[in-house]
């Protein structure tokens, strides 16, 4: 029969070993020796008492905890769960990206519709950029998305880069399916990034 396992030595120390294994323990010198070691260590640990703090200590401890707790607020669980994705630090990059993307889209559409006057010497160059609809791999697009990810919304507003919500709505309604798809991918990427 096999020797006692660690679990069984613990059970033996607690007097909870089953009859078959108890019979082995009584017959096996090696297991008896190990069980005696365990019992001896347990006895040494049990013999150690604990210094009792002063009776005044408990009142002081309660008072200190009361003071610390008075500075705390309990947020209901449902609110904590619902608000988690909307914490300001998570929203800032998303909002920045949305604002900058909006600004780019509106500017592009305004250029395409000829609402913005451009000096003739730059008109050809600018129109070429607008007609290309800012493909993902363009240098300008990479620069803008990179700046959007790193620019807090407050800084974007301060720099006059924000656009009214109504302008964004109008611009989105005039977007081509490809432009909508690109915008959707950009927003999803930003939302995924902010959720990490």
């Amino acid at each position: 029969m096999s020797h006692l396992s660690p679990d069984e030595f613990v059970d033996a120390a607690a007097g909870a070993l089953d009859a078959t294994r108890t019979a082995h323990l009584e017959a096996c010198a090696a297991c008896r020796g190990q069980a005696a070691e365990v019992a001896s260590a347990l006895s040494a640990v049990r013999d150690v008492g604990m210094p009792e703090p002063s009776p005044l200590y408990w009142g002081h401890l309660s008072a200190r905890i009361r003071e610390a707790v008075s500075r705390e607020t309990i947020v209901p669980a449902w609110r904590a769960v619902w608000l988690r994705p909307f914490r300001p630090q998570r929203l800032v990059p998303v909002a920045s990206a949305v604002a900058l993307a909006g600004a780019v889209v509106v500017s592009g559409l305004m250029l395409r519709e000829g609402r913005v006057a451009i000096p003739m010497d730059r008109a050809v160059e600018t129109a070429a950029v607008a007609d290309a609809s800012m493909p993902d791999d363009s240098e300008a697009w990479r620069l803008l998305t990179s700046a959007a990810a790193e620019t807090p919304i407050e800084d974007a507003h301060a720099a006059g880069m924000a656009v009214p919500a109504s302008a964004i709505d109008g611009a989105v309604q005039r977007m081509t399916p490809d432009e909508l798809h690109a915008l959707e991918e950009l927003l999803q990427r930003e939302l995924r990034g902010s959720g990490e």
Binding site: V38, D47, L61
Partner: protein, 200 residues
């Protein structure tokens, strides 16, 4: 730990008004969540001794234990909304206590070097008939055991403290430590084996 309806008395300074607090732990938690901050005072008064003992056994000195106890109750207050009423508040506090102690109490934590004579007078088994030399030996032995416990790996130390000093069953310890009953028993066995080696 108190898990059933109990009576405790609180003397209010103003007019020495005495109030009976006979709410269960679950009722006190609910009261806290409804904004009755004083209900948490009762929870603290009810459980602070057990939490202190747990922290002291881990830390081995009063200062660190004191810091840990405060941290345990602050974390408990912040997390009250996550407490499930079907569980024992005491066990939940033990779980927080073990986590706080495992994080805050390092292996280098100073184990209170008690004067053996003073330590001997603190031991619960010291008897009046014990001679001075016997008391001295008992105190020295207790200091050695405390130091040895402080040197155990964290999970072994947690298992040993909860099993021996708080008399918790293996399954409850498993719940607190997030492990299986088998792992708890194995940890307990290895803790005792390591102690034996450290003490010889």
């Amino acid at each position: 730990m108190l898990t059933t309806r109990t009576l405790s008395w609180t003397a209010k300074e103003s007019g020495c008004k005495v109030t009976v607090v006979n709410e269960t732990d679950a009722e006190l938690v609910q009261a806290c969540l409804e904004g009755r901050r004083e209900a948490f005072d009762t929870i603290v008064e009810r459980h602070q001794r057990q939490v202190y003992q747990l922290c002291y056994r881990f830390a081995g000195n009063h200062e660190d234990a004191n810091d840990c106890v405060q941290e345990v109750f602050i974390r408990a207050y912040r997390g009250l909304k996550t407490f499930k009423a079907r569980a024992s508040l005491g066990t939940w506090l033990y779980r927080i206590g073990v986590n706080v102690c495992l994080n805050k109490v390092s292996a280098k934590s100073r184990v209170e070097a008690l004067d053996p004579l003073i330590a001997a007078s603190d031991e619960r088994t010291a008897s009046r008939d014990e001679s001075a030399s016997e008391a001295l030996l008992r105190g020295e032995r207790a200091a050695q055991v405390r130091a040895a416990i402080a040197r155990l790996p964290k999970k072994q130390r947690a298992t040993l403290v909860l099993r021996v000093y708080h008399d918790l069953p293996h399954d409850e310890i498993a719940g607190i430590l997030g492990s299986s009953v088998g792992a708890v028993k194995a940890n307990f066995f290895h803790a005792l084996n390591n102690l034996k080696k450290l003490l010889t």
